[in-house]
């Protein structure tokens, strides 16, 4: 039989099917054209066309077809040339799709890499830990091959940036899963007045009611009844085609929809998430044409596609019988039903199947699926008697049956990931061979199969029970509902694993892991479930163990001769399904702050730099000048005439009240209680370990009002710490952060007084307004605070005014300074200017461990005060020898070698003694000046030390006094 044989497998219209047969969709797959219907998934459309070889496995490149048709495996990953790793089983078919299978060489049918399968005996589990590394020099060579084999799809580097929006939603009850229990839970909760959100990953509601019909109509009728009620209930918001990605603290569940993520904050959560059907394990159980019973049912009833022409059903539960009846209903020839259980004949459907001519083999197993000659499909199956207790098969009495497919139903694994993430405790229920919730956190409930309830009527009731429990949790008075414990045969077989000497009996289809791999791993000592997972990689592929973890646990339990519950489960991390970057990242906001003068700077060709969240001019670009040349010109303007800088980003804090001075004395290192109104003082802030945090200026504007300026990047943190200490000290002080409310302009240079004087009514003379003065006045008709500062020049003024007025003030000052040649300057120039005056800057000339003694700030420490933050630590540190000290240095006037850079090291006799923190050519000093840490024994004026420059040459620096130039 040829595969990709293009038999038409489409059935006559099924009641309730999801496809619209009036809407034909054209697409291509592996270079050939096909048609499907609107509502098809990629896989269902291909299967309808008789195309069965749909993928290649990750490791051995084995041909793969449908396994779950439910995103519980990644057998079928395709690319449309734009996107990759598209999950064809669940992605809706679109017109014009041009699809190819990922990770093949030469197409899915003739994949050249299938050679790896034939040498798989060479590559047992973990082999790569034991190969390639010796001799070590050859590993890079092998690594190239290994890396080439790695990965699935090829990433498209031209894929557009997608920034999906995020929404928030709130509800009383979030019901996850819209099968019979989820629908019943949602309806019950809503009919009692709760706001409900119901989410299901499938395109339509109903869960297994859509497809698990046992050839009859009962399930469909139940679904219709529930659907009518849903339509009549307004307070249920339904998300279909959307999945709950994970459970996060305080009942936050992100719902991933096609259009983005909705973050649902629920008061209660009901997980009615169902169960994943698990494959029985036998040789060649991965061939195209071998699929889970539920997958066959989905093909039939959702998409009107016949799974097989002639098939065998292998089962170990009642579900297999239902599948057989559905297959018969779809016109498949069911050659045999092979039941691995000894007590198969008790099943309720035995009679019906027998009447329909299906031969039932009880206590038999599928020993192996027989590959067609091409190894691309099934030509038959070998079955033999099976002792389910010992898991042994009697091959002497094997029978071969011809068929083109196998449907498998041996059991389930609960889809309990979200419950695990919420903190559920589990127990193993032997009656149903399944882990079930033992304890659930407050507000979390489970219903249906995930809760161990399989009987169809009981599942609906279990949903209502969970809803009643949620109602009670929310304080509503409703009666408790009881649900019967499972009766009859187990829905899951305790060990549906058939050994075969030649292996290829796969447990994990993502990673091509067969039974022998587990046995070998255990033999090597990896006999803990987590170690086994890491060594074999079971469950670590893209489907995250949905179809493999339960069988792995059973196999390990058998190897170790322990009950399953002693093995435990592996952790279930988010996400439930892999989730795209574009969804998770959302719109990628980048917060930034601009001063009110920003647009002026922009128009003046400012080059901006980020300082914290703020954007500040670094300098103003002049055409034909380099950055360095521009900085120097801006600096010269300040030294010779007048410059102006926007300081609106600086932190500004008002400290007011009777205890304001006392508060500052405790918070900063200096003294403020005796500070005179109208003056400023330096403010140095330490942390409790004595390390420098920030510095600024405290201006006393009134007896009970201090106005603090602090550095831009520390403003929020300084204000925050002030608030904390204020709470602790309980002083009579008010704090106001006016950083954004006030603009700040600094004009500096010998002509700054003249420029400012034209705009204010106060006497700015040296005698009347010396350095360290501060006052409130009017400028341009609005109130402003003017502070005489000395950070960048000996004559300089800060003008603080409401931010809305800052641009006017700026323009007025620019206008006022035309004659003086006023020039705007940026932060890069500001750093040079303050360096010329010898001022160090926290964060620039200090690091996260710098203490005041290392930067010569002893003068700022009022150690005789009763207390300030960091004082006690300084008392300890003061007794210890210093390791380094910040000094001011110059290079020789004629220095012309490699220019030292910030962070070049101070080297003495081959040992690191310190580093340069600031260095620049100073047009005012006419030489290279800087600050550097040196060893304390080297800090005398006139002493020299060596700086190692980028090219390795040593620059000899001489320690000098500051300021570096003769001030005006």
């Amino acid at each position: 039989m040829s595969y990709q044989n293009k038999d038409n497998m489409r059935l006559a219209k099924k009641i309730g099917e999801w496809i619209d047969r009036d809407k034909v969709i054209k697409f291509s797959f592996e270079g050939e054209d096909y048609t499907g219907y609107e509502g098809d998934t990629i896989t269902s459309a291909l299967w309808a066309n008789g195309v069965k070889v749909l993928g290649r496995s990750f490791k051995y490149h084995r041909a793969r077809g449908v396994l779950s048709l439910a995103n519980h495996d990644v057998n079928i990953l395709v690319t449309d040339g734009v996107d990759t790793n598209i999950r064809a089983d669940v992605v809706t078919l679109q017109s014009g799709m041009t699809l190819k299978v990922v990770n093949t060489e030469g197409g899915v049918v003739n994949d050249k890499k299938k050679i790896i399968d034939s040498i798989s005996a060479l590559l047992p589990v973990g082999f790569y830990y034991k190969a390639f590394h010796s001799p070590a020099v050859l590993f890079p060579f092998w690594e190239k091959f290994i890396r080439k084999a790695a990965g699935l799809g090829v990433v498209n580097f031209n894929y557009p940036r997608i920034t999906q929006r995020k929404l928030n939603a709130y509800c009383d009850v979030l019901v996850i899963g819209a099968g019979p229990s989820g629908l019943s839970a949602a309806l019950m909760a809503a009919s009692n007045g709760l706001e409900v959100i119901l989410v299901d990953e499938n395109q339509q509601l109903g869960g297994s009611l859509v497809y698990d019909r046992a050839g009859g109509n009962a399930a469909k009728e139940m679904l219709d009844e529930l659907s009518v009620k849903m339509a009549e209930t307004p307070n249920i918001k339904v998300y279909t085609g959307s999945y709950a990605a994970g459970y996060y603290a305080d009942h936050m569940v992100p719902i991933v929809t096609a259009k983005g993520i909705t973050k649902v904050r629920a008061k209660t959560v009901i997980a009615a998430t169902g169960a994943f059907e698990q494959p029985p394990v036998f040789r060649h159980n991965d061939l195209p044409g071998v699929m889970l019973g539920s997958a066959a049912q989905r093909l039939i009833y959702r998409y009107g596609v016949k799974p097989f022409n002639t098939c065998v059903v292998v089962t170990a539960n009642a579900h297999g019988y239902r599948v057989a009846l559905d297959l018969l209903n779809a016109g498949c020839t069911v050659v045999a039903l092979v039941d691995m259980r000894a007590e198969a004949d008790r099943d309720q459907y035995v009679g019906e199947l027998a009447r329909k001519g299906v031969k039932i083999y009880s206590s038999y197993c599928v020993y192996e699926a027989l590959p067609s000659k091409s190894k691309l499909g099934v030509r038959g199956v070998t079955i033999c008697p099976f002792d389910e207790k010992n898991g042994t098969s009697n091959t002497a009495n094997s029978i071969t049956l011809d068929c083109d497919g196998i449907a498998m139903s041996a059991g389930w694994a609960p889809a309990a990931a979200l419950l695990y993430q919420s903190g559920m405790g589990v127990r193993f229920d032997n009656d149903i061979q399944q882990f079930v919730p033992n304890s659930l956190p407050n507000g979390i409930f489970a219903a249906g199969k995930v809760n161990g309830v399989y009987n169809i009527k009981q599942r609906g009731l279990d949903g209502m029970r969970a809803a009643a429990a949620a109602l009670q949790y929310l304080g509503k008075s409703v009666e408790t509902i009881n649900v019967d414990h499972h009766q009859g045969a187990s829905p899951s077989h305790f060990y549906p694993i058939v050994m075969h000497p030649k292996g290829k009996n796969f447990v994990d289809f993502d990673e091509d892991i067969a039974v022998k791999d587990f046995i070998n791993a255990a033999q090597e000592g990896f006999d803990n479930i987590e170690l086994m997972k890491r060594f074999t990689t079971v469950g670590m592929g893209p489907s995250q163990g949905k179809h493999s973890n339960m069988n792995a646990i059973r196999i390990l339990a058998k190897i170790r001769n322990l009950p399953v519950e002693k093995i435990g489960t592996t952790t279930a991390r988010p996400f439930f399904h892999p989730t795209p970057f574009g969804h998770l990242g959302g719109r990628s906001f980048h917060a930034h702050r601009l001063t009110t003068i920003h647009m002026w700077h922009k128009a003046a060709n400012a080059v901006f730099v980020d300082v914290g969240a703020w954007s500040r001019p670094a300098y103003y670009q002049k055409s034909g000048l380099s950055r360095i040349e521009t900085l120097q010109q801006e600096a010269i303007a300040v030294r010779q005439s007048v410059g102006i800088i926007d300081g609106g980003t600086l932190g500004k804090i008002e400290v007011c009240g009777p205890d304001a001075g006392l508060f500052l004395e405790r918070f900063y290192t200096g003294k403020y209680i005796d500070q005179k109104v109208g003056t400023t003082r330096y403010a140095l802030m330490l942390d409790e370990s004595g390390v420098i945090v920030d510095d600024g200026i405290a201006s006393r504007l009134a007896e009970q009002l201090f106005y603090l300026t602090v550095s831009t990047s520390n403003a929020a943190a300084v204000y925050r710490e002030m608030q904390r200490w204020l709470q602790i000290w309980q002083l009579n002080v008010g704090l106001v952060n006016v950083t954004g409310a006030y603009g700040l302009i600094n004009i500096a240079g010998p002509k700054s007084r003249d420029v400012l004087a034209k705009l204010v009514d106060i006497e700015l003379s040296e005698a009347n307004f010396p350095i360290g003065s501060a006052l409130e006045t009017q400028i341009l008709g609005f109130s402003a605070r003017i502070i005489r500062v000395g950070f960048v020049a000996n004559l300089a003024y800060e003008i603080h005014m409401p931010s809305a007025q800052a641009l006017n003030a700026w323009k007025a000052l620019m206008q006022s300074g035309v004659k003086e040649g006023i020039r705007p300057f940026g932060t890069d120039t500001q750093r040079l200017l303050r360096l010329e005056l010898g001022h160090h800057m926290p964060g620039y000339d200090t690091d996260g461990l710098t203490i005041p003694y290392e930067v010569g700030a002893e003068h700022a420490l009022a150690m005789d005060k009763p207390f300030f933050v960091g004082q006690r630590s300084l008392q300890i540190i003061a007794k210890k020898p210093r390791n380094k000290i910040l000094v001011s240095f110059v290079l020789p006037l004629d220095y012309s070698s490699e220019m030292p850079q910030d962070c070049n090291l101070v080297i003495d006799d081959g040992v690191i003694k310190g580093r340069v923190t600031s260095v620049s050519y100073s047009p005012a000093a006419k030489c290279v000046i800087g600050l550097a840490y040196v060893h304390p024994t080297q800090n005398q004026l006139g002493a020299t030390f060596e700086i190692r420059t980028d090219n390795g040459s040593l620059a000899k620096a001489t320690i000098v006094k500051t300021p570096f130039f003769n001030a005006e």
Partner: protein, 413 residues
């Protein structure tokens, strides 16, 4: 190589021995007990046996070996630290890593990728230069590079970061590598076991017996075990162990999270770190992007994931690689990092005789695995801290002698 493959093919029966014995019943006493069967504890056991001939040693692991931070980190190895002591220590670790596959006879997939710490601001560039200068001074290959060199190594990177925080340059650290983290623990376990060290899994230390400021033994769920020397190598569980001996430390436990994408064909050859964007990313030998971020913002002693982490991380990675919009994140997880105030480890002797600490690893534990094992083994054997770890002593906090790694530590990895 060919022999190893043939052995599997022709052997018929699978004859690979256990990596380490399944120890169940401890002896009454050991010369040393190591608490914690992660990479660090197992490495210490291995070097105790190999370098110092001390083989009467038990490793007690509460869960399974390598199940803590050894199996949760992003497997990056580098030595481009800020202080000479830090650089020397991690450089010694890198050198041990380079020969480790051969020494332990296990393929650790130690692959040299090169490591770029991206700088998005002038101040970040200054820190890069500082690190580069110190690295070069002690002989470690690190240098500040411009955007051309970054683009050459990683042409897919959007240097403008979607226009949001343009990259100005990077610290390039040539020896930066990745390794298969689990295999490091397994390799040390096998090698230590083969020299007589006994490894006990599912064995929890419940209390530590100290008399006259000298360790006497430990109480476990498998009974009391006498010993004069106990090494605590438990990373995020350190506070629980130090509490047993009433030892105060500055450690704070903060979760560190990571996540991984679906496998894709290899395209990212280098390891990229961005301090400003708080991300680091490399591509594993399986083809997955392995990504991490900064520490969680507050103390928690559990390993639950948060959605905030993955939202922030993917947003920033997408700024760097806009074409990843539809690539999917498969799984996120967390580990508990034991963070110190100066971002340097806490190693060596303690005021309690016979109680040794290997802790304070913050986010840098994996890359220190071999050297921490080696220096701690030395420290146990001589009851005196190895020279390489002098700066990392616990008493530095009493002495106000903190180590200066803080300057470069916003996001390190």
């Amino acid at each position: 190589m060919a022999y190893q493959l043939l052995k599997f093919a022709l052997g018929g029966e699978y004859k690979e021995p256990r990596f380490f014995r399944d120890c169940q019943t401890p002896k009454k006493s050991y010369d040393a007990i190591i608490i914690g069967g992660g990479g660090h504890g197992l490495a210490a056991a291995y070097y105790l046996a190999k370098d110092h001939g001390i083989t009467n040693v038990a490793v007690l692991e509460r869960g399974y070996i390598g199940g803590g931070n050894t199996g949760r980190n992003t497997a990056i190895v580098r030595s481009n630290y800020l202080t000479p002591d830090g650089v020397n220590f991690y450089d010694a670790s890198v050198k041990l890593f380079q020969g480790l596959s051969t020494e332990l006879d296990i393929n650790l997939f130690y692959t040299n990728r090169g490591h770029f710490t991206l700088a998005h601001s002038e101040s970040a560039m200054r820190t890069m230069r500082w690190r580069a200068e110190v690295n070069k001074h002690v002989g470690v290959k690190s240098e500040v590079v411009g955007t051309d060199e970054i683009s050459k190594a990683c042409p897919q990177l959007d240097i403008s970061c979607s226009g949001k925080s343009p990259i100005l340059g990077a610290l390039y650290h040539e020896p930066g590598s990745i390794a298969r983290h689990d295999a490091v623990a397994w390799g040390y376990a096998r090698a230590a076991d083969s020299m007589g060290v006994e490894i006990f899994q599912n064995t929890e230390v419940q209390s530590i017996d100290v008399k006259n400021d000298q360790v006497q033994g430990v109480q476990t769920n498998r009974g009391y075990i006498a010993t004069g020397k106990v090494l605590s190598a438990v990373a995020g569980f350190t506070p629980r162990i130090t509490k047993m001996v009433n030892l105060k430390t500055p450690i704070v436990i903060q979760p560190l999270q990571a996540c991984v994408t679906e496998p894709m064909k290899p395209w990212l050859d280098t390891i990229l770190v961005s301090g400003s964007l708080h991300v680091y990313v490399s591509q594993s030998s399986r083809g997955e992007l392995v990504m991490g971020s900064a520490l969680d913002p507050y103390e928690v002693h559990h390993t639950k994931s948060t959605f905030d982490f993955v939202e922030g991380l993917t947003s920033h990675i997408a700024d760097m690689f806009p074409f990843l919009s539809n690539v999917k994140v498969v799984r996120q997880w967390a580990g508990m990092a034991d963070v110190t105030p100066d971002f340097a480890p806490l190693m060596g002797i303690t005021p309690i005789k016979g109680f040794y600490l290997d802790a304070g690893w913050g986010t840098w534990g994996f890359k220190a695995t071999p050297i921490s094992g080696k220096t701690m083994a030395h420290t146990l054997a001589h009851d005196k801290a190895h020279d390489l770890i002098h700066s990392f002593r616990l008493s530095r906090f009493d002495e106000y002698e903190l180590t200066g790694e803080k300057g470069a530590a916003s996001v390190g990895h």
